[in-house]
Amino acid sequence: MTETIMQQCAGAPQDMPVRRGAARRQLVRRGAVVAGILALVTAAPFLPLDPLHLNPAARGLGPSLAAPFGTDLLGRDVLARTLTALAVSAQVGLAAAAISTLIAVTLALAATFSRLAERAVGVLTELALGLPHFVLVLMVAYAAGGGMSGVILGVALTHWPRLCRVLRHEAQTVAAADYVRISRALGRSRFWVARYHLAPHLLPQVVVGFVLIFPHAILHEAGLSFIGLGIEPHLPSIGVMLADSLRGLMAGHWWVAVFPGLGLVFLALSFEVFGESLRRAADPVDGGA
């Protein structure tokens, strides 16, 4: 094992700066795309577009200059609805990912305090991982009364275990390191150790974990809204729009499904790819490859 690592490291000095530079540029590019998307959907409510305005005279119109994404069966502008829906998705995604990450970090740190806590967090994590994923999301969202808060809670309370497991493992490794033992022997408190030794090691994993939960969260929001457990059916949400589009598709109105669908895929994919770049950048071994 040690030999393997040594061999890997042996080839590194020559190409690592070049590869690291390329990876960084890629990370910046992908980060810029994500920032751009976030800026667009954040600005959506301020654009001169009304996602709720009904127009009986413009029902089911195809894409045109006046309505680039067309209109739905109630004459509402699909572009306005798509952008607003993506903003809703982004809000749900950010909130759910933030809560989920907070739970994961809290539990991972708690696990370092005692053997009992370690065991308890371990059992809780494995238990949460063992339950059917989407069923659990459904149950939590339903119990929370549906709506946007229900979706956020449903996703947040079910997406922490994987990140928690990674962080717990990382925290254990750090806690067992010699320099941490020396710190403890020198009389440093647990919080000092957590602040100066654990946090710097865990932070990259936390950021990566947060970004990678995001696409899951928005896809689940779409899924829950699609089956009627999420956002109310008249409000713009990608899930609601896709559910509505089933009717539009019957009438040949492809635009009511394609544009929101593409928007969702693009949003989720860009975060997925950005998160992957972050993960690689944070990984000391994979970072230059």
Binding site: H53, H234, R247, A251
Partner: protein
């Protein structure tokens, strides 16, 4: 073992597969699965034609009353006794004869059960011979005849707790299987007194609007109910059928202010904004119902101004014409509602003119109506917030929030149910706690009238008598929006015969003449 789930799926799919015409099996997706099962005493078939059970009378294509089980019926001079003679060849689907005892049992049990079939006015039903029955009323009630046309007769000997799931009746069909939430399979009752149906089996598939559309698109169903807004895009091999109805949609207003009262179940009562007559009148004046018909029904319907537009007991004098935002704004201003803070919504003191319009989230037509009405009301400074909820949630909210409800029946008994103060907070009728002693008196006078014709002026006066009434010109207890057409996609090979003007009724009214449907393709 592992193949059992697959086999179950295959079987359930086979049950809804299209079958060749020669097998004479039909698949319908019209919705309307009753939560409480198929027990007439608990409300099944209360709009008529309960499928499994026969009724004493039935309504024909023109809504005229004709005998079904009854061959003769008359009301005594004091209007307190109905005398009915039954046909002798009526049999339940297990072959046993239907007798006067069964009829008396059904009416007495329905009276005691206090279910949706409200028979509290019945003193006693009595079999006076093997085929003759008398129904004695506590007081004259002219609309009682509607129960003769809607209450399905159940067998006295076989009625029990499981009846709603295993109904036995003397109607044109008998149940083969009911898998709740999935499908109901029926077959013709071989003992039915009305003749033979050409179909060996009829399956009713239950699902949402999307399920219906998918079944139609894949050719798996022969008749599906579709939202009117989509009706014009029928798939190949199916034609569009629009049926005229008295099925209406309107916004019910809570009529009392919120004083912290709750129902026995703990549900809140009252809404300070909708309790103001000026708000309700302004809503009625502002709504452009023609535009709502275009928006929500794609033109397949007509504006509604009252609960029974165009029926003999309707009173158009009680209408407010609508589509007049200027007049609506004037009504608000006269009542002290003004936009003092310039946010586009009027206030009176600390009270902002805002309320929630609740619609069932599963119903796209009611959603469109709620959204359309809310958008129109924004123009006169009323902030109506649409909110899509489940029926369970609506049951909790319906005494304190405006709700898009639907009604529409073939008789004026419904007017009494909706507007008489004795029904305030009772079930799904008069959920707004409407109460007007003058209206109560007219409704009671109508029920006590000498004849149906004599009752008509009383019903009309309850809507508007020149100074008060439940209509928009009076108390404006509702803002009626539209009268629907029921829209279906029907296989081009299926002849569904003459259409009856449908009542409200969640799916099943289309089956009123199911036994007469014919398959026209070879």
């Amino acid at each position: 073992m592992k193949y059992i789930p697959l086999a179950a799926i295959a079987l359930s799919l086979a049950a809804v597969q299209p079958v060749p015409a020669e097998a004479r099996s039909l698949v319908l997706a019209v919705g309307g699965e009753p939560d409480a099962g198929f027990d007439p005493i608990m409300g099944w078939g209360r709009y008529g034609n309960p499928l499994f059970q026969a009724t004493l009378l039935r309504r024909g294509a023109g809504l005229e009353l004709e005998g079904d089980l009854a061959t003769f019926w008359e009301l005594s001079e004091d209007r307190l006794t109905w005398r009915i003679v039954l046909r002798e060849d009526a049999r339940f689907s297990d072959g046993t004869a239907l007798t006067a005892e069964d009829v008396a049992f059904t009416f007495n049990t329905a009276r005691d059960a206090g279910g949706l079939a409200d028979l509290s006015v019945l003193a006693q039903a009595r079999a006076t011979g093997p085929n003759t029955v008398e129904l004695h009323l506590r007081q004259p009630r002219i609309t009682f005849i509607s129960h003769l046309a809607s209450l399905g007769i159940v067998p006295a000997s076989a009625y029990g707790e499981t009846y709603s799931r295993e109904p036995l009746g003397a109607g044109p069909f008998r149940m083969v299987e009911w898998r709740e939430g999935e499908q109901l399979v029926v077959e013709p009752n071989p003992h039915w007194h009305g003749g033979a149906s050409p179909f060996e089996r009829v399956s009713f598939v239950f699902g949402g609007e999307e399920t219906n559309l998918s079944l139609a698109r894949t050719g798996e169903a022969h008749l599906v109910a579709v939202p009117p807004i989509q009706a014009d895009w029928a798939p190949a091999g199916m034609r569009v059928l629009h049926v005229e109805t008295v099925d209406n949609r309107g916004v019910m207003f809570p009529m009392v202010p919120d004083e912290g009262q709750t129902t026995d179940a703990g549900h809140p009562i009252g809404n300070d904004v909708t309790a103001d007559p000026a708000i309700r009148r302004a809503v009625n004046l502002a709504l452009d119902r023609e535009a709502l018909v275009q928006l929500a029904l794609a033109g397949h319907g007509r504006p509604a101004y009252g609960p029974a537009d165009g029926l003999p007991w309707d009173n158009p004098a009680g209408y407010l014409p609508g589509a007049d935002p200027i007049a609506a704004a004037a009504v608000l201003e006269a009542a002290g509602w003004q936009d003092a803070n310039g946010d586009g919504i009027v206030e009176r003191g600390d009270l902002r003119a805002e309320f929630t319009i609740v619609y069932p989230a599963s119903d796209s037509t009611r959603q469109a109506l709620a959204l359309g009405a809310a958008q129109q009301l924004q123009a006169i400074g009323i902030d109506a917030k649409p909110s899509g909820r489940s029926w369970d949630e609506i049951e909790v909210m319906m005494h304190a929030n405006a709700v898009v409800f639907g009604w529409g029946a073939h008789d004026p008994l419904e007017i009494y149910s909706l507007y008489h103060s004795s029904n305030a907070g009772l079930g799904w009728v008069n959920t707004g706690f409407y109460s007007n002693p003058t209206v109560d008196a007219y409704l009671e006078a109508a029920e006590a009238a000498n004849s149906f014709e004599a009752s008509l002026p009383m019903w009309q006066a309850a809507q508007w008598d020149g100074s008060t009434g439940f209509g928009a010109r009076g108390d404006a207890a509702w803002a009626w929006l539209v009268n629907l057409e029921h829209s279906y996609w029907v296989s081009e090979c299926l002849d569904t015969g003459a259409s009856q003007i449908h009542p409200h009724g969640h799916g099943f009214p289309i089956t009123w003449n199911l036994q007469d449907w014919r398959w026209t393709c070879q």
